[in-house]
C-alpha cells in the first residue's frame, strides 16, 4: 500500500509511467490469457470459431486428455531430472570456475577466461552436429547424461560467478586466512554463502533454459521414454492439431509452462533483482 502510494503519489509524470507500465503488462499478458481461455474450450467449438472462447461451455477435457497420454508423467520427470541436473551442474561448475578466475593466480588465467567468454558467441546450432556425433560415438544418446552434459558448459555462468567473486573484497578472504581457515573452507564457508544472490539468479535462468530447451533433447532423445516435456508434447501433435485440436494444444502449452511459472513465483524476487541489476550495471 505504502509502496504503491509512493509510486503513484508524486506528480502526473509518475502516474503516466505507472499507466504505461500497466498497459504494457496487460498487453504482454494477453496471449497468455488467450491461451488459458482456449485451453478450457471444447475443440469442436473452436473448430467453428475461436470467438466462442468468450462463451460457455468450458471444459477440463483438454487437460484430462493430456493425462490420457501415457508418457506425460514420464516426460515431466525427465524434464525435472534434466533441469535439476543442468542447474546443479552449472551452479557447481560455475562457482568453482568463478572462484578460480577471481581469486587463484595462475599462468594464462586471463587468456583462458577470454576463451571461456568466447563460448558466449558460439550458437548451439553451430556445434550441434559435432556434438551429436560425439554422443553417438559414445553411444550415449537416449540417456540423461547425454541430455544434461552439453548444458553444463555455461559461459554465462562462469562469467557471472567470476564477476561476483571479484566483487567480494579480498579483505574477507584475508580475514579468514588469519582466522586459520583453509582455502576450501574460505570458499565453502565464507565466500560461497555470499554469492547466494548470484547463485539464485544463475539457478533460475539455468532451470528455465533447461526446462524450455527443445533442440538438443529432440536430437538426443529419440525414444519416447526419454523425451522431455517439450519434445513429448510436440510428439503428440497431429498434422491437423491447429485446426482440430486447438484447445488441446493450448492446454499442453499451459501444462508445460506450469512448473516454470511455479519456479518464477518462488524466485520472483531474485529474477527481478537479476534483471534490475543487469540494467543498473
Amino acid at each position: 500500500m505504502a509502496a504503491s502510494e509512493h509510486i503513484v503519489g508524486r506528480g502526473i509524470g509518475n502516474k503516466l509511467i505507472l499507466f504505461t507500465v500497466i498497459l504494457v503488462a496487460v498487453f504482454w499478458m494477453l496471449p497468455i490469457a488467450w491461451t488459458l481461455l482456449l485451453s478450457f474450450k471444447p475443440n469442436s467449438e473452436l473448430m467453428i470459431s475461436t470467438a466462442s472462447a468468450f462463451q460457455p461451455p468450458y471444459t477440463l477435457k483438454n487437460y484430462t486428455d493430456i493425462f490420457q497420454s501415457s508418457g506425460v508423467f514420464r516426460w515431466l520427470w525427465n524434464s525435472a531430472v534434466v533441469s535439476v541436473g543442468v542447474t546443479a551442474g552449472i551452479l557447481i561448475l560455475s562457482s568453482l570456475a568463478g572462484y578460480g578466475f577471481a581469486r587463484a593466480e595462475f599462468k594464462g588465467r586471463d587468456v583462458i577466461f577470454i576463451l571461456v567468454l568466447l563460448g558466449l558467441a558460439v550458437p548451439e546450432q553451430a556445434v550441434i552436429i559435432a556434438r551429436h556425433q560425439i554422443f553417438s560415438d559414445l553411444k550415449m544418446h537416449n540417456t540423461y547424461p547425454a541430455i544434461i552434459l552439453p548444458g553444463l558448459s555455461s559461459a554465462f555462468g562462469v562469467f557471472l560467478m567470476t564477476q561476483y567473486f571479484k566483487a567480494i573484497p579480498k579483505d574477507i578472504d584475508e580475514a579468514a586466512m588469519l582466522d586459520n581457515a583453509s582455502r576450501f573452507k574460505i570458499f565453502w564457508k565464507v565466500l560461497l554463502p555470499l554469492t547466494i544472490p548470484a547463485q539464485a539468479t544463475l539457478g533460475i535462468f539455468s532451470f528455465l533454459g533447461a526446462w524450455n530447451d527443445y533442440l538438443w533433447p529432440l536430437i538426443s532423445a529419440t525414444k519416447p521414454e526419454m523425451f522431455t516435456i517439450t519434445v513429448g508434447m510436440a510428439s503428440t501433435q497431429t498434422n491437423f492439431a491447429q485446426s482440430e485440436g486447438l484447445g488441446f494444444l493450448m492446454a499442453q502449452a499451459i501444462f508445460a509452462g506450469l512448473p516454470v511459472f511455479i519456479v518464477y513465483l518462488f524466485f520472483q524476487k531474485y529474477i527481478v533483482r537479476a534483471v534490475a541489476g543487469a540494467a543498473i550495471n
Binding site: 579483505d171 574477507i172 584475508e174 581457515a181 555470499l194
Partner: protein, 362 residues
C-alpha cells in the same frame, strides 16, 4: 594473555621490479604500541601485511616472540588483524564472526562462549551478538572487528588504518577506546595510519615512513620535537613546520640564521657538525613564531585561520617568503595588517640540502 616482541631483520619486499621495502630492520618490544605513520604508498601497510603473512617476504626474517614466522601461513603466526574496511563476514552473526577463528583451531565450545562474552563485555557489544554486520553502524562494526581480534588472544594486534572509515567524532572516541583497551591488555600492537594525530595520541613509539623507507623511529615527542628529516618535520605537526632559507653565522659556537630579509633567528643548534657549504634552511613550528611589538621579522598577514583556542596567521615576509605564525584565540589581527614576528630560536632546527635535520643540544 600472550605478549610477544616482533623483530624485523633486514626484510625486503618487491612487487615485480619495484622494491617497496628495502632491508628494513626494526624491533617492536613486547607490549609496545607502535604506529607506522606515513603518506599513501610509503609501504607501511605492506610492511604490516608482511608481518601478518598476507604478503610474502622476499628477503630477511620476521620473528614473533623469538620464533621465525615469515615462512608460516597467516593463521599460524598467532597475530590478529583489524582491517580498514572491517572485513567482517557479512552472512554470519556477530557471535559467529567472533567464533569463526576459534572454531577453526578446535577451541572447545564453552571456551569460545567465555571468550565471546568477555570480549563483548569489554567492547560493550553484548546486545549486538545476534545481529549481522549489515545491521550495524560503522562504529559498531569496528568494535566487532576489534572483538574478533580480541577473542583470539593473539601474540600481537595489527591495525590497518582502522579509524579511517569513521566520522570525525567517532574516530576520536574510538581512539580513546583503543588507548584504554591497550592499557587493559598491554598487548603488542602495531597501528598503521596516515593520520599523525592518531599516531601521536596512541603510540608509545612511531615509525615514520616515506617512499618505502623508514625516516625516523622515536617517541611521539621525539618525532615532533626533534624530527630527523625535513620530511618528518613537514609530515608531523599541524600546521606543517615553516622552512625558510638562511645564511648561517657564528654566535659563540651556536648557529645564528639570517633570513632573506636580513632579520636574525638565534638558534641553539651547534655550529660544529653543520655542513660547511650548500643551502641551509631553518625550520620553526608555528607555535614558536609569535606576534610581538618588538618582533624583529616584519610581514603582512594574508590569511587568518581561527581555530578557537589559537589563531594561525599566514604571513608574507619582506623577501616574499611565507610562513605560518600563531596568535591567541581572540586575535584582533586582520588580513592585510602588518605584524612583527618573534621567533623562539631555541626550538628552531636547521636542515641541509638533503633534508637532514640539525638540532639544539638536549
Amino acid at each position: 594473555m600472550q605478549v610477544s616482541s616482533i623483530e624485523l631483520d633486514s626484510v625486503s619486499k618487491r612487487f615485480g621490479s619495484v622494491e617497496v621495502i628495502s632491508e628494513l630492520s626494526l624491533t617492536i618490544h613486547s607490549g609496545e604500541f607502535i604506529a607506522f605513520l606515513g603518506p599513501s604508498g610509503c609501504g607501511k601497510s605492506t610492511l604490516l601485511r608482511m608481518i601478518a603473512g598476507l604478503e610474502t617476504v622476499d628477503g630477511g626474517e620476521i620473528r614473533i616472540g623469538g620464533e621465525r614466522v615469515d615462512n608460516l601461513p597467516p593463521g599460524a603466526r598467532g597475530v590478529a588483524m583489524v582491517f580498514q574496511h572491517y572485513a567482517l563476514y557479512p552472512h554470519m552473526t556477530v557471535a559467529d564472526n567472533l567464533a569463526f577463528g576459534l572454531r577453526n583451531i578446535g577451541t572447545p565450545k564453552d571456551e569460545i562462549a567465555r571468550r565471546i562474552e568477555e570480549a563483548a563485555r569489554i567492547l560493550e557489544i553484548g546486545h549486538l551478538l545476534a545481529r549481522k554486520p549489515g545491521q550495524l553502524s560503522g562504529g559498531q562494526r569496528q568494535r566487532v572487528a576489534i572483538g574478533r581480534a580480541l577473542v583470539k588472544d593473539p601474540k600481537a594486534y595489527l591495525f590497518d588504518e582502522p579509524l579511517s572509515n569513521l566520522d570525525a567524532a567517532l574516530r576520536v572516541r574510538t581512539r580513546v577506546e583503543l588507548a584504554r583497551l591497550h592499557q587493559q591488555t598491554r598487548a603488542t600492537t602495531i597501528f598503521v595510519t596516515h593520520d599523525q594525530v592518531e599516531a601521536m595520541t596512541l603510540a608509545s613509539r612511531i615509525v615514520v615512513m616515506n617512499a618505502r623507507k623508514v625516516e625516523q623511529v622515536g617517541s611521539p615527542m621525539e618525532i615532533y620535537g626533534r624530527p630527523a628529516t625535513e620530511f618528518v618535520a613537514r609530515f608531523v605537526g599541524s600546521p606543517a613546520m615553516n622552512f625558510l632559507p638562511v645564511q648561517i653565522r657564528d654566535r659563540g659556537g651556536l648557529a645564528t640564521a639570517a633570513l632573506g630579509d636580513g632579520s636574525i633567528v638565534e638558534t641553539d643548534v651547534p655550529l660544529a657538525g653543520l655542513p660547511s657549504g650548500g643551502e641551509l634552511r631553518v625550520g620553526v613550528r608555528a607555535e614558536a613564531i609569535h606576534v610581538r611589538e618588538d618582533g624583529s621579522v616584519p610581514g603582512r598577514v594574508e590569511v587568518i585561520e581561527r581555530l578557537g583556542d589559537r589563531t594561525h596567521l599566514h604571513v608574507r615576509l619582506m623577501d616574499g617568503s611565507t610562513l605560518i605564525a600563531e596568535d591567541k584565540g581572540f586575535s584582533r589581527i586582520q588580513p592585510g595588517d602588518t605584524v612583527h614576528l618573534a621567533f623562539e630560536g631555541a626550538t628552531a632546527h636547521l636542515f641541509d640540502a638533503a633534508g637532514l635535520a640539525y638540532h639544539a643540544r638536549q
